[in-house]
């Protein structure tokens, strides 16, 4: 072979080699290396209110300092990037060993092998500490696929007592029916201050309307064994009517500045009432302390005034161990320390939250019961006594189903369709989802 030719082939070989090296870059990174003799656990936390990051950081550091066998690497992931980042990590095999997971994700995650059962990894008495109504949220086929941290009702009514008085309304008798709610919203609408804010976009309506769907119809549009949809049930038209009256009456902002879980418009005085989850209490206490004394909390009104009907679903967060975790025992040891063991740690979390979230463990309840602040908090008492007891679990079906119902609500609110047509479209969409995703028979109702 001539020198020139050899050089050319060498150059080509170098290019190919460089390319192969390049293509192999960017691979691993999530392996649980034990070069320091410790088991390394990667923990992803979905970003929530600032105090939560502070709490997680502090207790991860405490856990790492408390022993020398497990080292937890704490990663905060923005909520809006969570799904795509997690999927990319799963595809690359770099998924976290422990992650925050909401209740709605447990059942599908267990079915797809995403989570490892915690039975055998945590002491049995840890599961006995979970309240019975929450235990079912994390249990699939008698196995616990997550350890719950908290519950938070998705819909509570907040209202300004000073503005109610100024509008001639009695702040001690908040609205109890949907008709009364619309009347209050109308009375409280004054120039640039709107009567109330509630979800008005598909993304928010999909999940924040669950409690009200249960209130209007006693069930979700996918019932029983999920073999067919029941979205054309006329009771859903009543629910749509509530949203439409508030929106088309001009009693709520036409363009939402922030998403449903954000209490900013209420905090800044742009609205007099707000439908929001219990978590908003924390935001009000931390960001708008001057408003706390002028705010009252009540159960969200019921379609017919029956306060025992659910108006909220009990959402919340858990910690899960990944189905491919290299060292499940180390991952479970961390979960045990943080959320299942010493009740003082979780009690500290609820105190930092401004008592805006609710414990799922009997032992944590007992610690909080001895805290005078918790006993006297008016918001906590109302929500604990009048909302949580009637709250229901979130639906376990894919979010596509909820999106179809949300699209129906939004179409009517914004004048794109009649309630009858919108619900018929939603029903067809749900039946198509059932067929394509093979949901028939997957329900447990």
């Amino acid at each position: 072979m001539s020198l020139r030719r050899r050089k050319l082939w060498s150059a080509a070989g170098a290019v190919v080699a460089a390319s192969l090296v390049l293509s192999s870059c960017g691979g691993s990174g999530g392996d649980n290396e034990e070069s320091d003799g410790k088991a390394h656990v990667i923990f992803w936390q979905q970003k929530f209110e600032d105090y939560q990051q502070e709490w997680f950081k502090q207790h991860v550091d405490d856990f790492n300092a408390s022993q020398d066998e497990v080292e937890v690497e704490y990663v905060v992931v923005p909520a809006e990037a969570w799904q795509q980042k997690l999927k990319a990590a799963q595809a690359a095999g770099n998924q976290p060993d422990v992650a925050t997971t909401n209740y709605g994700g447990i059942r599908p995650g267990a079915a797809s092998g995403q989570f490892m059962p915690l039975d055998g990894l945590l002491p049995e008495d840890r599961f006995a500490d979970i309240k019975d109504n929450v235990k079912e949220f994390v249990t699939v086929d008698d196995k616990h696929y997550a350890y719950p941290m908290l519950v938070e009702p998705s819909t509570v009514l907040y209202y300004r007592t000073d503005l109610a008085k100024a509008a001639g309304l009695d702040p001690d008798s908040p609205p109890t029916t949907w008709d009364e709610l619309v009347s209050w919203a109308e009375a409280l609408t004054d120039g640039k201050t709107k009567g109330m804010t509630i979800a008005s976009t598909q993304g928010d309506l999909a999940w924040s309307s669950w409690g009200l769907q249960l209130n209007a119809c006693g069930d979700f549009p996918l019932r029983g064994d999920w073999s067919s949809a029941d979205a054309t049930d006329p009771c859903y038209a009543d629910l749509i009517d509530l949203y439409t009256r508030l929106y088309q009456g001009g009693f709520m902002p036409e363009t939402p500045k922030v998403a449903y879980p954000d209490a900013l418009p209420y905090g800044e005085g742009e609205v007099a009432m707000m439908a929001n989850g219990s978590w908003a209490i924390g935001q009000l206490k931390n960001d708008f302390p001057d408003l706390v004394d002028k705010t009252a909390v009540a159960p969200f009104p019921s379609i017919d005034g029956d306060e025992t009907k659910p108006t909220a679903t009990l959402g919340g967060w858990t910690l899960t161990v990944d189905g491919k975790a290299d060292d499940p025992e180390a991952a479970a040891a961390f979960i045990d320390y943080l959320v299942a063991g010493d009740p003082e740690i979780m009690a500290d979390f609820f105190k930092m939250s401004g008592l805006s979230k609710y414990t799922v463990r009997t032992s944590v309840d007992e610690v909080l019961a001895n805290d005078p602040k918790a006993k006297e908090d008016p918001f906590m008492q109302t929500i604990s006594d009048q909302v949580v007891p009637y709250g229901m679990p979130e639906p376990a079906y894919p979010i596509d189903i909820s999106n179809a119902m949300a699209t129906a609500i939004e179409s009517v609110m914004k004048g794109s369709a009649s309630a009858e047509d919108a619900l018929a479209t939603a029903n067809d969409a749900m039946d198509e989802i059932i067929e394509k995703q093979g949901l028939a028979g997957a329900g447990e109702g």
């Binding site: 293509s23 699209t407 794109s416």
Partner: protein
Amino acid sequence: MTTADTRVAVEATPQAPGPRGRARRRTPRPSATPRHLQSDLTAYLMIAPMVVLLGIFVFWPLVYSFWLSLHSINFYLGNEWVGTQFYRYVLTDERFWDSIKVGVTYAVMVVPTGMVISLILAMFIKTLRGRTASVMKTVVYLPAVLSSVIAAILFAFMGQDAGLINAAIGVVGIEPIAWLNSPTFALPAVALAGVWLGLGVSTLILLSALNEIPESYYESAALDGASFLQQTWYITIPLLRNVFLFLLVTGFTLTIQEFQLPLIMTNGGPVGATKTPNLFIFDSFRENTPYSTSFSLAAALLLFLVLGAISLVIFRLLRSEKAIDA
């Protein structure tokens, strides 16, 4: 003559010697490899890095994506072969076709509007001289260097109930409009941001093309008594035909794929009015089910075909002709 032309000429000589046998007059140097093969080898080596990189980062992912799209993807339990099932699911999904319609409508709103405004701006800037022209070029190009995320946030604030746009129309007594939460106005509101963002690049491209048109054409036309509009219609626009074609094709394929503006300004709503194809695929991908992963992959590959078809149609409609070389 281009580099490619040179290569062809060198290659043609030994392969097809002329009737007068020019090749035979040269004394070939003794070599194991014929000259034409050496030339080919050099050419192949020159393009090898790009071919290898394209292979690794474009062709292989494309082939692998297609292979994966024939499976129900599960990162934990393993993939299951389902053939073309997900393609059928995407093609029978009304939301996919609705998103294509939204993407095409958005492109129709943004691209021609942007081109007309850019042409007007470019013609105006061409009349300027010295420092004023430089300042204008910088000002017009500013949106191009601004992040589309920032632009989306700015326009979202402007479109609020108490935003700048409603304040402006309020001056003439028009009631506030829910620009970003109305099925009628949301897409035009997003398109407004899209037009603004695209102005910088298209204006500068058109300006450079305008400067290539010889002044003598306009002088002759003026001597013949042609008005400004006639000069624009009969000289400027025909001579910018290839530039328009470029802007149309690149503009359409880019704007149909618009993603950030509707994601930030409206999140695809209301009632799907601003859900462009890429946003639809992204939203499908974000859902936490194995189904959504395979579905979004099949939808992305089908969108690739749809965009290719649209580009072909544009090429067909506007046949490219080489402009008269001055």
